[in-house]
């Protein structure tokens, strides 16, 4: 009997899973990873001479529901043109009948992997702000992500922050200029059909909001993503809010409140509070007191305060020891 090396096994696995790209302009290069509905491959777009990521459906799908979801994901992504959202280049069906879409190939690491390399709290918060920007943009277009977690955020080599995996996104209203999404949004509580109907649970345990984990799909709004972002912020801050500055712990607590009404009303509000923390300003989640305000003023204006103290000290010394 001959033992196969790991590399040989990997090649065999890739060959077995490889999509038939013969009738497309793509050439298969490698397998990158696996998502909920399909496998993601690295491919070369031979027309444009660039590398792309191909997401290909690879689960049995007799009803066609999964194929429809994948196409819908591509359609949503295509409408969300934002530097923080991975752009879709193309979508279609392979000769073997499998649905796929091509998107930008992001060379980077997931936020979970990248977080260990971030040394300071401000560095982590600046990444979080970019993440919030992208999600707030999606919300402004009527799209909820519903599966925000460190694994679904990619950090590029130049610090770009990209939100990935919009497979379980929910449309709150039709996307502008997209008639198919109009039908989706008009379909009722959730346009995503099987697997995401009201009562069904989608998302990731530990990151999804209580209402989402109860399957209350019909009533979900931006605050479900606020909750997931709050959990992501907790992760970024080391997982233990008691070890971070009290105002930031208050931001985490407000974002992850069990009651949606107690959370930030929008991702923009959450991001604004994080920005205020970075600027040393009062936070919505952390009521101001005179003592805190004085402490903040001192931290922000230490040199001026010390100069005034030095002046007063000199004045007192002169009053005590000098008689003009």
């Amino acid at each position: 009997m001959t033992w196969l090396s790991d590399a040989a096994l990997d090649r065999l696995r890739l060959a077995a899973e490889s999509p038939d790209l013969s009738a497309t302009r793509y050439r298969l290069l490698d397998r990158i990873g696996r998502g909920g509905m399909g496998v993601v491959f690295l491919a070369e777009d031979q027309s444009l001479g660039r590398r792309v990521a191909l997401k290909v459906l690879d689960l049995p799908d007799d009803s066609g529901d999964l194929a429809e979801r994948l196409v819908r994901e591509a359609r949503i992504l295509a409408q969300l043109e934002h530097p923080g959202i991975v752009p879709v280049h193309d979508a279609g069906t392979l000769p073997d009948g499998r649905v796929y879409y091509a998107m930008k190939f992001v060379e980077g690491r997931s936020l979970r992997e990248h977080a260990a390399a971030l040394e300071s709290v401000p560095d982590r918060l600046r990444i979080f702000e970019k993440l919030c920007d992208a999600v707030a943009f999606a919300h402004s277009r009527g799209v909820l992500h519903r599966d925000l977690k460190p694994e679904n955020v990619m950090i590029g080599p130049f610090g770009e922050v990209l939100v990935m995996d919009w497979g379980v996104a929910k449309l709150l209203r039709p996307l502008a200029g997209d008639s198919a999404s109009a039908a989706d949004a008009a379909a009722g509580s959730d346009p995503a059909r099987p697997g995401t109907r009201d009562g069904a649970v989608v998302g990731t345990a530990g990151y999804m909001s209580p209402e989402q984990s109860r399957g209350e799909s019909a009533t979900l709004d931006a605050r479900t993503d606020v909750y997931s972002l709050g959990m992501t912020l907790k992760f970024l801050l080391g997982g233990d809010p008691s070890q971070v500055p009290t105002p930031l712990a208050a931001v985490c607590a407000k974002a992850t409140s069990a009651e949606p009404a107690a959370r930030y009303a929008s991702v923009a509000d959450l991001a604004a509070d994080v920005a205020r923390f970075l600027d040393g300003l009062p936070l919505e989640a952390y009521p101001d007191t005179l003592f805190r305000r004085a402490g903040r003023f001192f931290r922000r204006n230490q040199v001026v305060v010390w100069l005034v103290v030095a002046y007063l000290f000199v004045r007192i010394l002169l009053i005590l020891f000098s008689r003009p």
């Binding site: 001026v304 100069l307 005034v308 002046y311 000199v314 002169l318 008689r323 003009p324």
Partner: protein, 116 residues
Amino acid sequence: MNKILLGIILGTVLGCFDGATAWFYPETHAQIVEILIGSTIKGLIAGVLIGVFARLVNSLALGIAFGLAVGLFLAWIVAFLQHAHYFEIMLPGGLVGLIVGYATQRFGPAAAASRA
């Protein structure tokens, strides 16, 4: 806040305070009003000069140096007119100039970039 306005406010307030400390010397009580007015005007002049400098030159080090120089110079004039108490008058005067110099560089809109 405008750097010149900031300089005027800071210079005036600190100058006024500087003059008010004369109250702690009983022998000056008879001239306290004149001292207060003179010191306030001195602070105002220092604030205007330092504020204008901060608008023209965007440099923390130069701003502090200029503030210190203006504060010391104006205080020296006051001491010179009295022919006495140079140290007691110039030390706090210099500190006031330094504070106004730092504050006008640190706060308020930065000086416009110079044209090529």
